[in-house]
């Protein structure tokens, strides 16, 4: 085991160190408030805090809130408290521009944050030399496919695109949201009287109906889950699609986004960043392997087996943005789609190639996928995406 971090002699004490650790976690995407720092210090008084393993377990239960966070916590803990016996000079990083929410982010601000953040900030790009400083985010990229020329997505997508895409995504979201359930449910305001409730409540008043409970048809809005292909063959269209995803995330708080090339990555959290440029910077790190080969079947299968179980139900529209060119065997695609379909969702496939004159979905992958799709459309540009709106409303 690596040795424990040493702290400088003028270090202000355990409380400050804990605050430093919380700042370190925050930099790495855990959402923690001041309250948690207090609880953590409190928790340490109930255990043998000198034992690193105990402390790790205790802090894990306090600071994490979901399985993903729990999985990456150990790495973050080690990088802060177990840096091989080196001396940590400053435990609490001074507020960097990247930490304040309303900053107008520029490349300079990012670079500055990088230089001063110190403790392995995975949300900032690391200038392209070598690995990122933190080992917390596993970067397992399949090596058998040509990939891994690192691309800064900020060069690919411009903020203006995102703004335009956001408007379209808003409209699309609205088209999908306008759904009503057939069943009526009790509600404060409604178009019908809830007779069962009237009777029940009138028992309390000796059979006299005093209150008049109402019922209405509740909204059953659909949620969009977008899965975007960023493999080599899609590079030309990536700009539009990524902008669209970023816009979608900002417009609809329930939407969900993934991208895949040879593996699948969830990018929802990264794209929710308030600063569009920083969102893309975080994305570039996640999208390692951008423009490599694509394994559509495998990625969709991973999706169907993992995330879909949590996030896809009969009120979800799964939107796949891909050209259907698979470097691996295409058989996986239809099994994955069948599996997804079983969860009761709607599946839309937007294929940029379909816009070409005389295009036939002959790629074997595409042919296998067709029977399971609710909608198969072309989409090359933001305008195309905007034109989808009436079709979505009909779904």
């Amino acid at each position: 085991m690596s040795r424990v971090t040493k702290f400088a002699a003028r270090d202000p004490g355990p409380a400050a160190r804990m605050a430093g650790f919380v700042a370190h976690l925050r930099d790495n995407g855990l959402r923690l408030g001041v309250g948690e720092t207090g609880i953590a210090l409190d928790a340490l008084t109930h255990i043998d805090a000198a034992n690193p393993n105990d402390a790790r377990r205790a802090l894990k239960s306090v600071f994490t809130g979901c399985a993903d966070e729990a999985a990456k916590f150990d790495g973050l803990f080690d990088s802060f408290w177990m840096n091989g016996g080196r001396v940590k000079t400053r435990v609490t990083p001074t507020a960097t521009p990247s930490q304040s929410e309303n900053v107008h982010s520029t490349r300079e601000a990012e670079a500055e944050a990088d230089a001063s953040g110190g403790a392995g900030d995975i949300s900032a790009p690391d200038g392209g030399e070598g690995e990122a400083t933190s080992d917390a985010e596993g970067k397992l990229v399949a090596t058998d496919v040509t990939n891994l020329f690192k691309k800064d997505l900020r060069d690919v997508v411009r903020p203006e695109d995102i703004e335009a895409a956001e408007k379209i995504a808003l409209r699309m979201g609205a088209a999908l949201r306008d759904r009503r359930s057939r069943r009526r449910k009790a509600a404060r305001k409604g178009d019908q009287i809830h007779f069962r409730k009237v009777m029940r409540q009138s028992i309390a008043t000796g059979g006299e109906p005093f209150a008049q409970p109402k019922r209405h048809r509740p909204d059953r809005s659909l949620r969009i889950t977008a899965i975007c292909d960023v493999s080599g063959s899609m590079t030309v269209y990536s700009r539009i699609f990524l902008a669209f995803l970023a816009g979608l995330m900002r417009a609809d708080s329930r939407a969900d986004a993934y991208l895949f090339h040879t593996r699948l990555v969830r990018i929802t959290e990264a794209l929710r960043d308030k600063d569009p440029l920083r969102a893309l910077a975080r994305l570039s790190l996640l999208a390692d392997g951008f423009a490599g080969g694509s394994k559509i079947g495998e990625s969709l299968n991973t999706f169907a087996n993992t995330y879909a179980r949590r996030f896809v139900d009969n009120r979800t529209v799964v939107m796949i943005l891909s050209d259907g060119y698979d470097t691996a065997s295409p058989d996986g695609i239809s099994t994955a789609l069948v599996r997804l379909k079983k969860r009761g969702c709607k599946i839309i496939w937007l294929n940029p190639l379909k816009g070409w004159d005389g295009y036939e979905p002959t790629a074997r992958a595409m042919a296998g996928a067709l029977p399971h799709l609710d909608l198969f459309r072309a989409a090359n540009t933001l305008e195309d995406l905007a034109a989808l709106e009436p079709e979505l409303a009909r779904l």
Binding site: G35, E36, H46, I47, R57, K60, C66, A70, A71, R310
Partner: protein, 291 residues
């Protein structure tokens, strides 16, 4: 009590808890905070609460969540029919309206539901809020209020403050994402599928008279099965059912009779697709490698 003594106390009750889980439980007890347990179905989340109640020698109060669960079913409700009868009886006895009113809005006519019951116990109970992800988001918000204040307001009676703070355990299968607010109020522990040693320990604790050979075979087989591409991976509960079935059938060796193994797979695989995915040959191969 340290987390290690808690861990061994739980082991005495037949529950093998991982270090992470025991620590989270220990902190939840000593800090008085709710504990959120997440994990796949059948890894023993609900069992944690039952065992904790046994360790603390206290009552277990369980609230099973479902879609449409509302305050009347979770907190309290007035017993209307009884109130009406009481009013009828009172009018015959010539009791005055005011005294009747005071009487029918008293404890006697109050139906306690789990949440109210949990905060009115003399000895702090274990309150298990099972499958919180199935309840509506509105209910989640309401629950938050109770979990932070530990008091419930009944308009006719006033505010009821907790006589003892229950130990709250929430479980979730992840059918929907829980709100950040709820996650922040709680300590968190993820309950994974057990590793090989833990699962062996669980099996031996539950069925002490199982032979070592069969025990190793069962655990190896189930662990291998979990690595297969299945819709629903078998949990610990399924593994225990499987063992019980094998022992009931008097099987001493998993590889001995392919037909029996295939028949007992019904305790492990619960969908048609999973059954089809594990034909006799694969089951035999997994069982052969399991030792």
């Amino acid at each position: 009590m340290t987390w290690k003594t808690l861990q061994s106390a739980m082991a005495d009750q037949g529950y093998i808890a991982s270090g992470d889980l025991a620590m989270a439980l220990h902190l939840s007890l000593s800090l008085g905070r709710p504990l959120l347990l997440e994990g796949a179905a059948g890894v023993g989340k609900t069992e944690v609460a039952r065992v904790l109640a046994a360790v603390e020698d206290t009552q277990l109060i369980r609230l099973q969540c479902y879609e449409g669960l509302d305050a009347a079913q979770a907190i309290y409700e007035w017993n209307y029919p009884r109130q009406l009868l009481a009013i009828r009886a009172a009018s015959q006895d010539g009791e005055t309206g005011r005294s009747v009113e005071a009487r029918i809005f008293s404890d006697e006519f109050l139906l306690e539901r789990p949440l109210l019951k949990a905060i009115r116990q003399n000895k702090a109970p274990v309150l298990l809020i099972d499958e919180i992800d199935r309840a509506d988001e509105e209910f989640e918000a309401y629950l938050l209020e109770i979990l932070s204040e530990f008091q419930i307001t009944i308009p006719e009676m006033g505010t009821i403050t907790a006589t003892s703070r229950p130990m709250v355990i929430l479980t979730s299968n992840g059918t929907r994402d829980l709100s950040d607010a709820l996650r922040r109020r709680c300590l968190y522990a993820h309950v994974p599928y057990p590793d090989h040693e833990t699962e062996l320990a669980i099996l031996v604790t539950r069925y002490p008279d199982i032979t070592d050979r069969l025990c190793a075979q069962i655990v190896g087989f189930v662990q291998a099965l979990r690595k297969q591409d299945l819709e629903k991976k078998p949990g610990i509960a399924e593994m225990l059912d499987f063992s019980a079935a094998l022992m009931g059938l008097g099987v001493a060796d998993l590889t001995a009779d392919p037909a029996i193994l295939q028949a007992t797979l019904t305790t492990l695989l619960k969908t048609q697709m999973d059954r089809d995915a594990i034909p006799t040959e694969i089951a035999q191969r997994l069982a052969g490698k399991a030792e």
